[in-house]
């Protein structure tokens, strides 16, 4: 798979606010189509990161083992949802 990582978020050892919060924050600031790498040693990330990506419309390209503990999650930032206000469109 060929892509260029635009930003690496090192959330190894982060319990509070935790890797997913760090990812959400990075995605909010990122351009659509860019790829973010999240480094996490949190076991919870294995289930949580794919779930959030699906829910929020971002593509999890791959998960790479960095070592025994740390995994690298590569996320392609999806189209930001169009803002819609009730009764106003």
């Amino acid at each position: 798979m060929s892509y260029q990582i635009a930003k690496t978020v090192d959330a190894v050892g982060s319990f509070c606010p935790g890797p997913l919060m760090e990812l959400v924050r990075a995605v909010k600031e990122a351009e659509t189509g860019s790829v973010i790498e999240l480094l996490s040693s949190d076991k919870g990330s294995v289930g949580e990161i794919p779930k959030w990506c699906e829910k929020a419309g971002h593509e999890l390209l791959e998960v790479v083992d960095v070592d025994d503990k740390v995994k690298s999650y590569r996320i392609k930032v999806g189209e930001k949802k169009k803002r819609r206000r009730r009764n106003k469109e």
Binding site: G13, F15, P17, L20, E22, R25, A56, R86
Partner: protein
């Protein structure tokens, strides 16, 4: 002469200054230690959760920071507007400049509603003294309806605070005997109520028990304050009568102005050595860093001695580098009268136990303990 300058006299700045004073004396070399703050009003911010219920007064959670550091420290009351990192000169808003050999950035986080285009004054927040007081008025006048609490943007100070606010609001309206007229809803940016799994297993069942509605995967995208509707990045929306949001945060503008960071200005900081990446003789602690841990006073408390030691190590040239292990401790209030206690570092997640009365009382006595022993660098 070693010129050491600390920028900011909040939690991190006063503690690091006190620790540095002791360490610099040990070098037996001449030094000048300066602390700079735009107001020297040192705010004990955990107090906002009490001022928002009128259980404490704003004037009682503030102290003149100049009284918290040793006499021999030079105090400069001015705002930093830029650092010339190449020539090691700090530009101040009183048209003066300060030269440094070693500098510590401890200017915290500010609320930055201008970072979103939907914020207006009808949205409540308790992240400033004025915000907490205004919220108290709104709560006392609230006759019933739906209170919605959500996180306006990431990152923010003190991750448990919005959940604590939900728990305390529940207790407040119960005590007022009008809980049946008030719906409380908490919107979490994650798939659970609180980010740390081990803590969440204690906290999330309490939401259910206390009848606080929980919506997950809700990252705020927009608010229509006329229609009173809030929208999430994930595509959902919700109505409210009273909206309490964690406001967007940013670091201080001088950081971006000086080319130290981009965007919201969180300082790129080595999470162990606490050195600012790409800069020489510059360290950062507390809320201003980009370290992936809680923006908490406790974080700054445990970071401060590491920076004091590392500046000492550099001055005496002993080749040592001390490392921050990510230690953070905090209380997590679950009602007026009960609290959890959380303790963790980069390696070990917290084991929170159960909400207990003794932790609540610890939190009550913590304020004088903080001003007398923590901020002054004695513990």
């Amino acid at each position: 002469m070693n010129k050491v300058v600390v920028l900011g006299a909040g939690t991190g700045g006063t503690i690091v200054t006190n620790k540095l004073w002791k360490k610099l004396k040990k070098t037996k070399q001449p030094f000048e230690l300066t602390i700079v703050d735009k107001t020297f009003k040192h705010v004990y911010q955990p107090g906002f959760l009490f001022t928002m219920f009128n259980r404490d007064k704003t004037e009682n959670i503030m102290k003149d920071a100049r009284k918290l550091v040793p006499k021999g420290v030079k105090k400069v009351m001015a705002g930093v507007i830029r650092i010339d990192t190449e020539n090691k000169i700090i530009y101040l808003d009183n048209n003066e400049t300060l030269e440094y050999d070693y500098v510590v950035l401890a200017t915290g986080a500010r609320i930055a509603p201008e970072r979103v285009d939907w914020w207006d004054d009808s949205i409540h927040q308790f992240y400033t003294p004025e915000g907490a007081e205004k919220l108290y008025n709104a709560i006392t006048q609230f006759e019933g309806g739906k209170i919605l609490i959500a996180i306006g943007d990431l990152p923010y100070r003190c991750p448990p605070a919005p959940l604590e606010a939900a728990f305390l609001l529940d207790d407040y309206f119960r005590k007022k005997k009008m809980r049946d007229k008030v719906d409380i809803k908490f919107c979490s940016p994650l798939n659970r109520a609180f980010s740390i799994e081990t803590v969440n297993t204690v906290v999330q069942p309490l939401f259910k028990k206390k009848d606080i509605e929980l919506e997950t995967y809700f990252n705020v995208e927009d608010v229509d304050t006329e229609e009173k509707v809030i929208y999430s990045l994930e595509g959902s929306d919700d109505d409210y009568d009273l909206l309490i949001l964690v406001p967007p945060h940013a670091a201080q503008p001088y950081i971006v102005e000086s080319g130290i960071a981009e965007g919201a200005g969180w300082v790129p900081t080595d999470k162990q050595t606490l050195e600012v990446k790409g800069q020489e003789n510059m360290w950062a602690l507390g809320d201003t860093t980009d370290i992936p841990t809680s923006k908490a006073g406790s974080t700054a408390h445990y970071e401060a001695p590491i920076i004091a030691k590392n500046i000492y190590n550099k001055i005496i040239n002993n080749g040592k580098v001390d490392m921050y292990d990510g230690h953070v401790q905090c209380f997590f209030l679950t009602e007026f009268g009960k609290s959890l206690f959380i303790d963790f570092n980069y390696e070990n997640p917290p084991k929170p136990g159960k909400p207990a009365r003794h932790w609540w009382w610890f939190k009550q006595i913590f304020k004088p303990f903080y001003f007398n022993l923590v901020a002054t660098g004695k513990v």
